[in-house]
């Protein structure tokens, strides 16, 4: 194990590939725990404001379409499945299948963006974008802008994480095609998967907390 020559995927500062892989996995997990705190701050903000202005949140949520949110939830869960299958393909040394499944994950992510674009455009059209185009009709709750500020910040930061995911997937997808991964050394695909699943986890909470608050009132967008 102490040979000085630097060959293959094993970096010289690691004893074994197993040690190198575990280090990479722990590194990504440490980053993700930091990400939990990053989004956690926004969720704490959500909890405080929803506690203070519950009626604004009920009214705001009624402007969101649970069907579109639900479709996007299913699409994102599907992208997590294709990502998990991409990691599995990498474990089995199937480089073409790995790249194909990463590509499928990107496509599903773009479908999510398509729905999100439609939703954002509709909010703009109805004057529900605080700070940029705020002109809600009727008799809006005086704190309605707080709900929509949180909606755009939280879904926006989530979307930014997806864009970063697209860049990482392009990088890892090309490396997979070039045969840079093997059943012994696929940690690059594994940590990409960890990142993408984390983005999915954030949405799992955003969907019920933003879209479903007033569903029992006959719900749906208006």
């Amino acid at each position: 194990m102490s040979d000085a020559t630097h060959t293959g995927p094993l970096a010289h500062h690691f004893e074994t590939l197993e040690q190198q892989n575990e280090t990479s996995a722990i590194g990504m997990w440490a980053f993700l725990v930091q990400e939990v705190m990053f989004f956690g701050g926004m969720f704490a903000c959500y909890i405080v404001y929803r506690h203070m202005y519950p009626t604004a949140f009920l009214e705001g949520s009624a402007h969101l379409d649970p069907l579109l949110g639900g479709i996007n939830t299913a699409v994102l869960l599907g992208s997590s499945l294709t990502m998990a299958l991409a990691v599995r393909a990498a474990q089995l040394g199937k480089r073409g299948q790995t790249a194909l499944l990463i590509g499928a994950t990107v496509v599903l992510g773009l479908v999510f963006f398509g729905v999100k674009y439609f939703e954002y455009a509709e909010k703009w059209h109805h004057g529900l974008v605080p700070g940029l185009h705020w002109a809600p009709t009727g008799n809006p709750d005086p704190h309605l802008h707080i709900f929509f500020a949180l909606y755009f910040i939280m879904t926006g930061m989530h979307a930014l994480h997806m864009v970063i995911g697209f860049v990482l997937m392009a990088f890892v997808g090309v490396r997979a095609l070039r045969g840079r991964y093997s059943p012994e050394n696929y940690i690059g695909v594994e940590v990409l998967g960890l990142y993408w699943h984390f983005v999915d986890l954030v949405w799992i909470f955003l969907f019920p907390l933003l879209y479903l608050l007033s569903a029992h009132l006959g719900g749906g967008a208006h």
């Binding site: 197993e18 575990e22 996995a25 722990i26 997990w29 440490a30 993700l32 725990v33 939990v36 705190m37 956690g40 701050g41 969720f43 704490a44 909890i47 405080v48 506690h51 203070m52 649970p66 639900g70 939830t73 299913a74 869960l77 599907g78 997590s80 499945l81 990502m83 998990a84 299958l85 990691v87 599995r88 474990q91 089995l92 059943p183 696929y186 594994e190 998967g193 960890l194 699943h197 984390f198 999915d200 986890l201 799992i204 909470f205 969907f207 019920p208 907390l209 479903l212 608050l213 569903a215 029992h216 009132l217 719900g219």
Partner: protein, 101 residues
């Protein structure tokens, strides 16, 4: 960790995905019924169940070493601290009546 990497059977991934879709439908369906404060409790419970499914199987924590488990638990622990301390403040505030009562 001298064992080979765990390759999860396809059947497991598809089962987890089907459960996640089912729970998404469940969280929508429950939200259409007026249960008062229980709506939020149930929504968060369903979301946490979905998180467990994703973390254990998609993120492979079920087959990972103790250090990974420790990191995953640390994320939950700090979140509980953050939400807990913030809300012990906001939930125990009294209305201010002004200087000198």
């Amino acid at each position: 960790m001298s064992t080979e990497h765990h390759v999860t059977p396809l059947r497991v991934y598809f089962t987890v995905f089907a459960l996640l879709l089912g729970l998404t439908f469940l969280t929508w369906w429950v939200a259409t019924i007026d249960l008062g404060a229980w709506n939020t409790t149930i929504a968060i419970s369903v979301a946490m169940t979905k998180v467990m499914l994703v973390v254990l199987w998609f993120m492979h924590v079920k087959y990972s070493n103790k250090l990974i488990w420790f990191f995953a638990a640390a994320g939950v622990y700090w979140l509980v601290l953050l939400f807990g301390f913030v809300m012990t403040d906001y939930l125990t505030r009294l209305p201010v009546t002004g200087w000198g009562g």
